[in-house]
């Protein structure tokens, strides 16, 4: 099955710093989403981005489907950005199974 790897696994930032999180996937995908899991465990949808670039406030994401990776950019980080960031992909084999990446745990220090 499709493999999804995220890097870095852990990241510590000072408030106000910028960061880039990466998601690599091993096969073609139909869909890709980025999620933020807050300290209470809820998965918040950040971007639905099978290809191209999107921006939402301080966050933006780019997916280069032909090269099998996606990037999530966080600018001017805030303590509320702390948590775990997951990408999840849907393969092209006619399945409805989304596969989660390994996650990046982000801690933003005040």
């Amino acid at each position: 099955g499709i493999q999804v790897e995220q890097s870095p696994p852990d990241l510590i930032l000072q408030e106000g710093a910028n960061s880039t999180l990466r998601c690599n996937f091993s096969d073609s995908v139909n869909n890709l989403q980025w999620f933020h899991q807050n300290p209470w465990g809820q998965l918040i949808n950040l971007f639905y981005i099978p290809s191209g670039t999107k921006q939402n406030g301080r966050l933006s994401a780019t997916t280069v489907a032909t090269e099998r990776y996606s990037l999530l950019y966080i600018s001017s980080s805030q303590t509320t950005d702390s948590g775990v960031y997951f990408c999840a992909v849907l393969g092209t084999s006619g399945t409805y199974k989304y596969i989660f990446g390994t996650g990046t745990r982000l801690k933003v220090l005040a």
Binding site: N30, N31, Q33, F35, W40, G41, Q42, L43, N45, Y48, F86, A88, L90, Y96, K97, Y98, I99, F100, G101, T102, G103, R105
Partner: protein, 111 residues
């Protein structure tokens, strides 16, 4: 305004006592998923429904069952919970291969 609702948010059950977690949606999505997430790990797919078609993951224990009586509701039944089943259980929905919406999750504790 919540679109995928999971009840309860926290569930404590006794070792071996059957427990049912519920998920409801107002989105009229075809696909409903149940994921198990243990501490510091990525969510792991247990099973999913496309309409009434049930799809079980090969490594989902027999102890876990699911029911989808209609489009709006999906249930996760754990027949004999063990200590290793303590986890966050996440329900999600999607329309065919569209974007996903997750519920807030149910955190299960087994005592």
């Amino acid at each position: 305004d919540a679109m995928v609702i999971q009840n309860p948010r926290y569930q404590v059950t006794q070792f071996g006592k059957p427990v049912t977690l519920s998920c409801s949606q107002t989105l009229n999505h075809n696909v409903m998923y149940w994921y198990q997430q243990k501490s510091s790990q990525a969510p792991k797919l247990l099973f999913h429904y496309y309409d009434k078609d049930f799809n079980n993951e090969a490594d989902t224990p027999d102890n876990f069952q699911s029911r989808r009586p209609n489009t709006s509701f999906c249930f996760l039944d754990i027949r004999s919970p063990g200590l290793g089943d303590a986890a966050m259980y996440l329900c999600a929905t999607s329309r065919r291969q569209g974007s996903w919406t997750f519920g807030s999750g149910t955190r299960l504790t087994v005592v």
